[in-house]
Amino acid sequence: MTGTYLGMPAFPQAARDAVRDPVLRGNLRHATHTIRAKRARAVGELSDWAELREAGRRIKDHTLRHLDRYLVQLEESVTAAGGTVHWAADAGEANRIVARLVKETGESEVVKVKSMATQEIGLNEALEAEGIRAYETDLAELIVQLGRDRPSHILVPAIHLNRGEIRDVFRSEMGAWGRPAPEDLTDAPAELAEAARLHLREKFLRAKVAVSGANFMVAETGTLVVVESEGNGRMCLTLPQTLISVVGIEKVVPTWRDLEVFLQTLPRSSTAERMNPYTSMWTGTTDEDGPRAFHLVLLDNGRTDTLADQVGRQALRCIRCSACLNVCPVYERAGGHAYGSVYPGPIGAILSPQLRGTGSEIDASLPYASSLCGACYEVCPVAIDIPEVLVHLRERVVEGGPAVRQGNKVVLRPARGHAAERAAMRAARWVFARPGALRAGQRLASRTRRLHPRALPGPGRAWSGTRDLPAVPPEPFRDWWQRTNGGKDGTE
C-alpha cells in the first residue's frame, strides 16, 4: 500500500521485538483495558444490540452484493448536489487525482481530517513529492506526523505512546511545523490538547483546501458522513473553499435510514461513547456555507479483489471502529506496528493480505497473527467472522489457488516455507488411509518413547521452538481398547 511499510519483516519477527519493550506493553495494556470495560458498558445500555448488529451486517452484505448499482446511484446523487465524482482503480491513481485537484486551486498546502483511506494510499508522501504539504489535524495523527512515527491503531494511531512521550514529541518537533509548544508544557492530557489546539488553529484559519475520508456515503441522497471527536474534522469540512474526500467504495450504504443503525453501533464500539462529540453530514455543496467545491474520489485499491473472494469479502463490511483491536490478546502484546500496515489488529490481519495480496513476507504471515480465540468476532458491530477469514487465508497461503489481483484472475502458488507442513500432511493422509501402517507406526512410537527428543531436529525446529511435543503414551489407544474391552475389564 504505502512505501512506509515496504520491507517490513514478517509478523513473528516484528512482534518479538515489540513484546520485549516493557514501556510499549504497559502503554498498550493500559489503553486497551481502559476502553474494553467502557465499551462493554456502552453496548450494555442498548437492549437490542444483537438486532442492531444483525441489521448492520445485513445492510452491508446487501450493499456489497449490489455494489455496482449503489456506486452508480451515489455518483448521480453527489453530482446532482453539486459535487464532482472521480474514480481511482488504485493508490497511484487516487494520489494523482488529489494532487491535480490541489494544484488546480493554486495552493501548496492542505489540512487533513484523519482518514484510513488516505493513509492506505500514502497520500501525504505522494503530495509531498508534488511539493504539497499535508497537515494532519487529528491529535493522534499529529503526534505520529510530528514524531515521524507510524500509526499503530485505527482509532488512536499514537496509542503506543504514553503522555510523557507525547509531551516530548510536542516539545521537540512542533516548532518546525508551526507554532511551537509552550516551554513549560507538562504531560497533563488537557495541556497536551491545548498545545495541539493552539498549534493547529492558525492552520485551520488559513487553509484553503482540505482532504478527508468518510465513514459513510448514502447512495440515495449523496450524503457523506464524518464521525469525529475533536472538531478538527468540522474545521476541515467547513472552513476551506475546496474539499476533497477520498473514500473506499465499500463505504456506501443504500439509504438515509441506514445511518440509524451505524450511528448507534459505531460510537459505542469505537470510543465507547453513546455518541461521539461531533458528526458532520454534507450533501454536495451548500450555497454560502462551507466549501464551494466538493470532490469525491472513489477508491478501489484492492477492494474489488477482496469482493471476489467468497469467504474474505465479509471484511468489506468493516466500519473501522477498532473494537477488535482493543480486545485482541495478540494486538495487546505485539502492538500495531508489527502488523506492517495501516490496518493493524485482527481486522488488519484479514484486510491487508486481501487488499495487498499475500505476495510479501509480512502479508503472508498476517493470517497467522492470531490465536483464533474469537474475541474479535464477538465484539464486531457488523459481525465479521474474522477467525473464519483467517483460517481461509492461511489455507490460501499454504495451498495457493485461484484469487483475483488488480481485477485479474490469477492462480497463487503455495508460499515457500510451508513445504515441511505440506509434506507432513501428505504423509498423514497416506498413513490414515492404511490401518496396518498406522498400527505398526504407533507401536513403534510407543516402544521408543524414552528415546524421543524434546525438540524436533532440522526444519521442524522452528515449529517445536514455540510448542511442546505431545508425549507418546506407553500403549496406543486402540491396543488399550482391545486389550481391556474398552475399559470394561477394569484393568489399566
Partner: protein, 213 residues
C-alpha cells in the same frame, strides 16, 4: 477504458457467483431493532436528554420563555469573552437583555473574523435524549456551520419538548439530508491520549444547552 468502467467492471466480475436478488431493499434487510429505548413520556425524555448532556460535560440550564433573555445575558456576562456571533434568524428577544457586541453571521466573514468572537448563540433542529445530542441543520436561527465551531463558547437553545426525540432513528426521520448537518454531543473532546476522554480540543470547549419550555 475509464477508471469508472474499470472499477465497475471489476465489481460486476467479483459478484459473478452471487445469485440475483431483486427484492425491494426494505424487504431484503430486516430491521428487528427498537425504534427507541424506553422514554415512555415526553417529560422523562427531556430529563434523559438533560442527564446525558451533562454526562458528557455540557452545562444544562432550564428556562421559561420569560426568563430566557436574562439567563442568556447572565451566561454571556459570566464569560466576558468578547463579541457574540448571532445567526440572522435568531429570535431577537433572546438577546434583548444582553449588553454585548454582536457579530452577524455573514458569508463575507473570514474564519479569522469569527476567531475574534468569544461566544455564539444558536437554536437547534432536533435533540436526541438517548445520546445527549443536539443537531444543527443550518436553518436561519442556527446559521452557517462554522459559527458554532470557531468561538470557544456555544449556547444552544432547545425548545422542549417539541424539539426532543428519544432516539437516533427518530432524529433521522426529522432531519433533511439535503441540509448540512452537525451533530453535537458535549463539548469538543479527544480520546487520543491513552484512550481516555479529555474535553476541549478544537471545537467550543464550553457547551451550554438551555432547555426552553
Amino acid at each position: 477504458m475509464s477508471s469508472r468502467d474499470r472499477v465497475l467492471g471489476r465489481v460486476r466480475r467479483a459478484l459473478a457467483d452471487v445469485t440475483p436478488d431483486d427484492r425491494p431493499y426494505e424487504e431484503a434487510v430486516r430491521r428487528d431493532y427498537l425504534r427507541e429505548h424506553g422514554g415512555p413520556t415526553a417529560r422523562r425524555t427531556v430529563e434523559l436528554l438533560a442527564e446525558n448532556l451533562a454526562d458528557y460535560r455540557a452545562i444544562v440550564h432550564r428556562s421559561g420563555a420569560s426568563e430566557l433573555p436574562s439567563l442568556i445575558a447572565r451566561l454571556l456576562a459570566a464569560r466576558d469573552a468578547g463579541p457574540v456571533v448571532v445567526p440572522s434568524g435568531l429570535d431577537e428577544g433572546w438577546l434583548a437583555a444582553a449588553d454585548v457586541t454582536r457579530i452577524p453571521d455573514r458569508a463575507e466573514s473570514t474564519p479569522a473574523d469569527l476567531d475574534r468572537a468569544g461566544s455564539v448563540v444558536t437554536a437547534c433542529a432536533v435533540a436526541i435524549a438517548e445520546t445527549g445530542t443536539i443537531v444543527l441543520d443550518g436553518s436561519p436561527d442556527q446559521g452557517r456551520r462554522r459559527i458554532s465551531l470557531v468561538p470557544d463558547h456555544h449556547i444552544c437553545v432547545v425548545r422542549v419538548p417539541d424539539q426532543v426525540v428519544s432516539s437516533v432513528p427518530q432524529a433521522l426521520e426529522r432531519l433533511d439530508p439535503a441540509r448540512p448537518l452537525t451533530w453535537i454531543s458535549g463539548p469538543s473532546a479527544t480520546s487520543d491520549i491513552e484512550l481516555d476522554r479529555v474535553e476541549g480540543v478544537h471545537g467550543p470547549r464550553t457547551l451550554e444547552v438551555i432547555l426552553l419550555g
